[in-house]
């Protein structure tokens, strides 16, 4: 299926054909960390392509370790390494939210001119997100979004109109709806796609022009309606955790007999679950959505996250939760510990696993997943 191939491929490379085409046509690409917090609609409204930062293809961190420590998250270390090897020269700017210590300190290296940039001055922005909800936080974030808008306009000499923003919101919402539709299909006893493929498809939404992506996904959803579903799995799993941009990790889990039917991932439900209210003034709507959306553990509302997870366990008939965490991630470390207790109280089988950014310790992971599936599996 052509649509599927085009949607699956971006996960394997940093620079996919869509981005190359975009650049050839004179388009600008803005890298950003964390789908959870940076309003990518603003980037789109400025006529630029938002690209979520990955270190796909990185094989080591020898160069990147110059600015890292042994306790620096391996995602950031690989990003550093790729940056120092000039792999991000296709980016015209970079945005990082204050999502965690690793990312914000990593971004400090860019801010202090330690990373090569293709242009000078280079667009760099630390996007500040409150850690909680409420009136004060809303006003803070709204101001931040307006400042973000102005900074894009000033640096790139563009005007972001209300209409452009509304259009970008509409397109982004369409992506979100389509992805929700995709995930609904995974509720079936025999879902039409595996977790690995679903992961690739979500990932592609962060590395492709939206109109093209939406069309491809619509075509795919049509194709999937009548597709024979996945069978022969032993357990329905929910994958929970932080940044995971490696579909091979999901494949490894599924190769042990499990089927990942839903998730709580930033390249997953957190990316698309909440829509932007198109009836509101667009900046207010973005503020509301990015503040109140499904959160990662940097936000101080663990109980709300667990309620969502619990709901999905029931909705998708999940047999067990696999919670992955990048080593040295304190946010997910605390969250995993709390989830372990919550899931125990709710009688939901739970497995916590640590990982590094690049897939490694494969045999240990296989063994742990196999054992988990054997204990929770239905067949």
């Amino acid at each position: 299926m052509k649509a599927t191939d085009e949607l699956l491929a971006p996960a394997d490379t940093l620079l996919n054909p869509s981005i190359e085409e975009w650049k050839k046509a004179g388009g600008k690409v803005i890298g950003y960390f964390c789908t959870d917090y940076v309003p990518e609609e603003m980037i789109s409204a400025a006529g630029m392509l938002p690209f979520r930062m990955r270190a796909t293809g990185s094989t080591g961190t020898e160069k990147g370790d110059k600015y890292a420590h042994s306790t620096t998250c391996s995602f950031v270390r690989h990003i550093f390494d790729m940056a120092l090897r000039d792999k991000y020269s296709f980016l015209d700017g970079l945005i990082a939210p204050n999502s965690c210590d690793h990312i914000r300190r990593g971004f400090d290296a860019w801010r202090r001119g330690k990373m090569p940039t293709p242009t000078s001055p280079y667009y760099l922005r630390l996007f500040v997100v409150p850690f909680k909800y409420g009136d004060g936080a809303f006003d803070y974030l709204k101001r931040e979004i307006l400042n973000f808008q102005k900074s894009l306009e000033d640096h790139f000499q563009v005007k972001i109109t209300k209409e452009a923003l509304q259009k970008a919101i509409k397109e982004a919402n369409e992506t979100r709806r389509l992805l929700k539709g995709l995930y609904q299909l995974r509720k079936k006893e025999k879902p039409p796609i595996t977790g690995e493929l679903a992961h690739r498809i979500v990932l592609a939404s962060t590395a492709m022009p939206r109109d093209k992506y939406n069309k491809l996904l619509r075509d795919l959803l049509n194709d999937l309606q009548d597709k024979e579903g996945v069978d022969g799995y032993s357990a329905r799993l929910m994958l929970v955790g932080g940044v995971l941009d490696d579909p091979d990790y999901v494949k490894l889990i599924e190769d042990q007999g499990g089927l990942v039917v839903t998730d709580y991932l930033c390249y997953g439900t957190r990316h698309f679950e909440d829509l932007v209210d198109e009836s509101m003034e667009p900046v207010e709507a973005l503020t509301k959505r990015y503040l109140e959306r499904l959160s990662c553990p940097r936000m101080m509302d663990h109980d709300r996250r667990f309620e969502y997870i619990k709901g999905k366990v029931q909705e998708f008939k999940v047999d067990g939760i696999v919670c992955h965490r990048l080593m040295f991630c304190d946010s997910w470390g605390g969250e995993s510990w709390m989830l372990r207790q919550d899931t125990k109280d709710a009688s939901i089988p739970f497995l916590g696993v640590e990982r590094e950014y690049r897939l490694g310790a494969v045999e240990q992971l296989r063994t742990r997943i196999q054992a988990f599936i054997e204990t929770v599996g239905r067949r």
């Binding site: 890292a68 620096t72 210590d101 400090d108 500040v128 004060g136 470390g333």
Partner: protein, 428 residues
Amino acid sequence: MNQVNLAPMKEIFQGLKMFPQFLEEAKDRERSVIAGINCYIDWVESTFEAIESGKTIVFNQFTFFPELLHAFGLHPLCPEAWSVIPLYADPMGGTEPIDVAENDGVHPELCSSFKFNIGEAIRGRLPIPSLIVATSSPCDSARSSYQALAKVTRAPMFFVDEGYWDTEEDTAYIESELRRLISYIETEITHKKLDYDRLKEVIEESNKAVEYFLEANELRKLIPCPESGKTFIYSFMAFMTSAGLPRCTALQKEILDETRERASLGKGVISEEKLRCIWFYTPIAWDYFLINWLEDEWNMVIPMTMDGYYVAKIIDTSSPETMIRGIAERLQSSIPMGRQGRGPADIWIDDMLRVYDEYYGDCIILGGHYGCKWLKNACGLVRETCREMGIPLYMFDVDIFDPRVVSAESYRQKIADFVTTVMSPSIS
């Protein structure tokens, strides 16, 4: 979570109370340290009394100095300060609660100070508070741990969000957060309005303590340095636990008096000062006599540390608005580690360079705590900056609460190597 049983902690505390006696022989040298320990002991004792008499206990994260809580008549208990009780009694005293936390599934890379707190809460050696007040600074570890602490203790938590930069908008945001906190305490905890006259008294007391502290810090710029870097941790603990109370003010005055005495005689804290080291992080909590060793073995003084760099402004007490504003400003950009951890790495690096300059540093040593990601992830930048500026820098890894991770022998040897090689022209 186990039932709360503070008896073991009380027993350990009885041992800690004897600590000042061991320093009596060296009281000329350790006068301020003895005063610092006694101030801490006084706080711990008052805390046990408060618990036993049913006073309302509120946890305050170490980056939230408790003037506001004192004004409400609440008893603040800073978990980071509380958990030091077993540590001061025995360098290995923190290892048990750390192990309890890790055995319960807390990830081992978490800052051990917070593993302490969670471990003590799990095994019932942390009192149950009526409220937890936490802040967004300095780091992920703190935010994650305080959510976990709220879960274990089942206490409500009010989280004070502090913004990221030092703009007027950020200050206004913190002010609004403080007003929300006040309103929350009034509605949910005390069921009565904050007495702003009492807040004025508390802040004026806090201002006095700050004035003494800042004056002593100014005197430390003298060559030779008239006070030891050992006293900073005691000052910091006093501010964390007792800012706005006379015991905190008395300690800062004691330290200032000692500093002034030596300064007036042109005396340094050590007889022959050869090296001035800026230790721009918190000290190693279990290596009580590290600074004594630096002073005795290497004639090295520490005129300033990060926990000593409390660049607080005097708060205007003329109105409730100015007082809330003043507290907000301190929260935003004064409290050690909160100041440096909250925002970009520039703040920590610029502070370090400024202090190196103002305090006539000869070198910078950073005993960087393993669990401290906001700091460790900036070490590469610090290394490059110091190299560019020709500042001798030695960084090493250590766990400042758990002696099992890196031994004192090992890093002391490395410090010795640094001093005898890189700094040898200064000491010969």
